[in-house]
């Protein structure tokens, strides 16, 4: 709420236009994934930001079960340096 007014202070009284949001589907559920391999660097990376963070569920639409599997895979992949812990922006 507070965020809305901050973003657009002029339209305070107006009703904010609702953006039709398509319901996101869990990528892993669509593929019927039962196991996420930490060695599958490409797949793991797809769910990480360019800073090396795990992309939140609310962005990717991943279900809770698969997000847990994904998080575990990312952490393993980081340990053996397949993906970074952090990546600072290049200056």
């Amino acid at each position: 709420m507070a965020r809305d007014t901050k973003r657009d202070p002029k339209k305070k009284g107006e009703k904010r236009e609702k953006r039709p949001m398509r319901k996101k589907k869990c990528k892993f559920c669509l593929d019927r994934v039962t196991h996420i391999d930490y060695k599958d660097e490409r797949r793991v990376r797809r769910f990480m930001t360019d800073r090396g963070k795990i992309t939140p569920r609310r962005i990717t639409g991943t279900c809770a079960k698969h997000q847990r599997m994904l998080a575990a895979a990312v952490k393993r992949a980081r340990l053996i340096a397949l993906v970074p812990y952090v990546r600072e922006y290049y200056r």
Partner: protein
Amino acid sequence: MRSYECAVIVHPAVNEDGLRASTAKYVDIIAKGGGEITKVETWGKRRLSYEIMKQPEGTYFFYRFRGGSALVDELGRQMRIDEGILRHLIVRDELAEGNEPALEPGTVEATMRHPEREVREEVEHRGERY
């Protein structure tokens, strides 16, 4: 007996003979610890996502085996004190069926898992969104 996978990053300065010796050493440790090796694979030398002990790259090996927890402890201990190893990770092999044929320790050699994979810069991932 459970199935495990052990990932190892060997120091980039270790040459081919050294790599063979390293593989032989750990195959031996697994066999002596009552384990059964089902596969040893390598990715060859690869760029690391971050430097480990000042090294920008390393040679990846993967040991798949069955064994008990004492063996896992011993393997981890040996790898930790091995100066030729930058990093190791032993995890349960959840995909193993448990009936993969065991290899004869003396004959085990690391096979290339991804022949197309060499030291190469991964295309930078730019925060794709779904």
